[in-house]
Every structure is written in structure tokens, then in C-alpha cells.
Symmetry: C2
């Protein structure tokens, strides 16, 4: 078979696969808004206080939910860094359009070594945590092809891609997903510098860097910051840095001050219905159904706490 023939055969198989997938789905009649309205209290969960970092930027709250199942050592280090005050006084130093918003120690790693924030009891070096075993992962699969990976879905409220043949699963670089910046060495991240995706999902980053979690509230704070004029969106002057005025683990925030937010579970029939509904034009405006959904197009609903049980 020539390369062209293989490509043509692949495309034909894809078309067949797409038609089979579409055929398998009975069109739902309930809108996403109605599914959320009709959800049960058990369809929602609170944020885990030990795995949630609450930051304040420009007087607004930005909440990062960590993914300890996927990056346990990074999650532990971020927890330590947060508790020992590392992130308070760190700053957004880079905003590259349609790519990442990145925060770090504002001091220059090379020229201002004496000004660098102390790591305290946090570890300077961690292993790369690019993927975990697929086997046993409680993933709620999407039925439509992801393109970037053979399997995609949600686990622990996070967008996940997987390759069962290689027994690998990893967090996908969707909008709002947060990773640990690294230099050339794969194991050079430790959580002191983090980035959030602010545009089209750069899925080519998947399996190249440790993903630590997802912004569940306040992503619009990070996405609307001025883009940096430098080559990769770095701010060229420290005066342009945008300080993180405070960062605390949710567990360390007094109950009365805790953010009033609960989040939809992604391991429920309600979530499956929501994903299925997103594949169809329901209601007045849309005239065409895509009959397709992608993990990076699905945001997990949040709402004010309505008596959901505490986790664990």
C-alpha cells in the first residue's frame, strides 16, 4: 500500500466510524440547562480542601483544583509551597495569546539569585508525572473521536486522554488546564512556576509536561490579562508583572471566607446526559447538530453550594 492509499483508507474508515457513532446516538430532547436544573444533590460535589489552591489576582479569586491522581508528587509540592507562602507575592510573568498565562517567582533566576523565594520544605526536584496507567482509571468516556488520542473523557472532573494499547492516561491540555512549567529536562518542574491554557487546546503539549489540575473559577481573570510583548509572551519589565496578592489552600481558609462553589461530578448519568445533549441542537437558535462533542469543549458546571455533601 502506498502512503496515499493508506491515508485514503484511513479517511474512509474514519467516515464509517463517524457514521456508526452518529447512528448509535438517539437524539435527546432535554437542553443542557434543563439537565442541570433537574440534577440531584448527589450530582454535585464540593472542592476537596486539601487539593484546592485559592489565589487572589487583581482583587479577584482564581481557584485551581489539583489532580493528585495524575500528579501526586506535584500536588504535594504545590500544597507545601502554598502553605509556606511561596505563591503569595509570586506574579504572572507571561501571557502568550492563544497559549498560556504563566506565574512564577518574579525574581530573575539568573540575575537575582539572592532575591529568589526560598523553597522551604518543598522539594526542588520532582519526577516527571506525564501519565499514569490507564488500567483501573475511572474515566467517563466520550464516544466521539478525539483525534489526539484513542480514548478521551473525564476523570475526577478533569479532561483526560488515554491510549489503552500503551496503558497510559494523561490530563489533556484543554482551556483552563494548569501545568507545571519546565525547562529542557523533562523532570525539571517542581510547581514553583505554573501555567494555565488561555486559548485553543495545545494538545501537542500532552505527554510533554506535567499537568497538575484545572482552574475551576476565575479563568477569565487569567485570560484577560495584557499579552506580554516578548517573543513568548513574557512581560519585558518587572513593572508589568501582575502580583498574586494571596494564595492559600482551601483547607486553610476560615469557613466563613471560603468560596461558595460546588462543582458537578463527572462520573454520573447526569454528566453523561449533559455531554450527549451538547452533541445536538436543542431549542430555538441552532439549526444544525454537530453530533459531536470534544472534551475540550465541555466545561464542568459550577454553582453556589446547595447543600452538597462534603467530600471523602
Amino acid at each position: 500500500m502506498t502512503s496515499n492509499q493508506r491515508t485514503r483508507l484511513a479517511l474512509a474508515l474514519l467516515a464509517l466510524a463517524a457514521s456508526l457513532t452518529a447512528w448509535a446516538a438517539p437524539p435527546p430532547r432535554v437542553s443542557q440547562a434543563d439537565i442541570i436544573k433537574q440534577s440531584a444533590p448527589s450530582d454535585w460535589r464540593r472542592l476537596d480542601p486539601e487539593n484546592t489552591l485559592v489565589m487572589e489576582i487583581n482583587g479577584q479569586q482564581v481557584i485551581l483544583e489539583l489532580a493528585p491522581r495524575f500528579a501526586p508528587q506535584h500536588a504535594a509540592n504545590i500544597r507545601t509551597l502554598a502553605r509556606e507562602g511561596y505563591y503569595t507575592g509570586s506574579a504572572v510573568v507571561r501571557v502568550q495569546d492563544n497559549y498560556v498565562t504563566q506565574w512564577a517567582d518574579p525574581a530573575d533566576e539568573e540575575k537575582e539569585k539572592d532575591k529568589l523565594k526560598p523553597l522551604g520544605t518543598a522539594l526542588a526536584e520532582l519526577p516527571a508525572e506525564f501519565s499514569i496507567p490507564f488500567k483501573g482509571l475511572p474515566i467517563t468516556n466520550f464516544t466521539d473521536p478525539d483525534g489526539w488520542a484513542p480514548v478521551s473523557g473525564f476523570a475526577d472532573g478533569m479532561p483526560v486522554a488515554a491510549d489503552p494499547a500503551q496503558n497510559k492516561a494523561w490530563l489533556a491540555h484543554c482551556y483552563g488546564v494548569v501545568g507545571a512549567a519546565r525547562s529542557t529536562q523533562p523532570d525539571s518542574s517542581n510547581g514553583t512556576s505554573l501555567y494555565a491554557i488561555n486559548g485553543q487546546a495545545p494538545r501537542a503539549l500532552d505527554l510533554n509536561i506535567t499537568v497538575v489540575g484545572r482552574i475551576v473559577k476565575g479563568m477569565e481573570v487569567l485570560s484577560s490579562l495584557p499579552r506580554g510583548p516578548g517573543a513568548m509572551g513574557f512581560y519585558d519589565k518587572p513593572e508589568a508583572y501582575i502580583p498574586i496578592t494571596r494564595a492559600r489552600m482551601l483547607a486553610d481558609i476560615p469557613a466563613a471566607e471560603q468560596p461558595n462553589i460546588e462543582i458537578m461530578r463527572t462520573d454520573t448519568t447526569t454528566w453523561r446526559k449533559l455531554v450527549e445533549a451538547s452533541r445536538h441542537a436543542i431549542g430555538g437558535w441552532a439549526v444544525h447538530s454537530a453530533l459531536h462533542s470534544n472534551i475540550c469543549n465541555r466545561s464542568v458546571p459550577t454553582r453556589p453550594i446547595q447543600g452538597a455533601p462534603t467530600p471523602g
Copy 2:
């Protein structure tokens, strides 16, 4: 076959298709930066002066390239609106995070009818221009599955999706793509209100609305504006509106003031090489190759004019 069996068969076919596609591609050794560096003058084109709208927002330039092949009547109307001064003094009225930045007449359509800008010789009503025939479209195909459509690629520098079985092709809602806002009726857009995609490609909008072109410069101006506090990101007070201080067709701008920009052609071997290179980890940083590319992840390079031939 049950629904589950069909889904399983579809997934198996997809996996096979993916492996065939990957197998078909010999890994390139040249980076995207080097491909751009080694490009010939004929790999580049200038913007068509009759199909380029140059806007000024917050003292910065935002350039919209129209797609007359896909939406000829909207392109013609936008040209007329621009030439008769409609957009100068219109304003960004809506910024919804991870969705759209929208601009329109700042006057309220219901409450301020007397303040509405006159349409002049532009048409108030246009047909919906959601798709064109696929047959004969000069598209540079992507070989990887798009997921949202059986065929995807670029035509006239724009991201395109297509369904050959239905003989339909349409512009895909990728980051920076611009559409004509409409109300409930499919044919209720006329180009007076336009929106640009500022986040993850909301491809479910495809075939539901007329796409008119793509921002080729200054998208970061539109994407970094404050998000509107209203339900769909509308600014709740007219004071928050961000004026378009000037908007002109490129053809009407004196030569000395014209933006110094040329854009890579997407119907060349150089472009194909660039797309192929994006599928592979080349160079120092990345350790994993996605062996996948998607139209919405590929931006078309621009550069200062280096003696490219004028169009036509």
C-alpha cells in the same frame, strides 16, 4: 448490532485509521521555524485590499481578512458598511470568556432606535451563507481526523471543514475566526454585528451561522479585553463599551499608512511541510510527538512585507 457494539466497532475503526495515518507519515527533520526561514517569496501573499478590513481599537490595529468565496454577500455588505463609515464609532459590546468578542452599533436596538447608525446603501437583509459546495474547492487537506467533520484543511488561508458526501464545505469556528451575529432566524445576519472566537474552537457553531473571515493581526487586542459581567458576556453599561475608533478597507488606506504585513499561502508545499512538522516533536524541548495536527491549532504565519507579489 446494538448501540454499544456499533460504538465499539467505531472506536476500533478509529484506532486502525489513526495507526494507518501515523504509519503513512515519514518524520520530518526540519523545524517549523526553519521551514518558514527557508520559504520562497512565492510562498507568501499580500492581503487583498478589497477584502481586508483594518480596525483600530484601544489605539491598536485589528485586521480582518474577509472570505468572499465562502460568504460573498456578507463580504460585499461588510465592504459597503466599512466604506460608508458604519464600523467607525461602533464598539465592542460583548466579551464572553472562552467564546466570543463581539462588536456592534452601541445604540440599543429596542430603546434607542433613533440613535441607530444608518445602514446607508448596505443591505439590511442577506441570505444565510453557512456553507458552499465542496466540489471544486481548492482545499489543502489535513490527513488527521478532525472529529467534527470528515474532511478538514485550509482554503484561501482560512480553516475549512467539509462533508464530501453532502457536497458541503464551510469555514470552521477556530480561534480568531469571525462570524456575523444573528438572532433566531438563520438569515438574520447582515454584517452590522460581528464576533471573533477568543477561546477553544466552538465548532458546534459551524453550519449554524455565517462565517465571514479571520483576524490575521491583532487578535490579542480582542482576546484580552475585560469580560462582560452579563450572562453572555455583554457589558452591562454603555460606559464599558470599547469603541472602534476607525475602520477602513485596506484599499482605502493611503499606501504609506498601510499595515506592513504579508501572509503565508496555504496552497503550497511549504504550508504542507509546516503542518506535517507540527505533528512531530522536533528540536530540544518536546519529548513526545502527537503525530496529529488539527486545523484549529495551526496559525498561518505572517511577517513584514519582503517583496511578495501583489495579489491577483
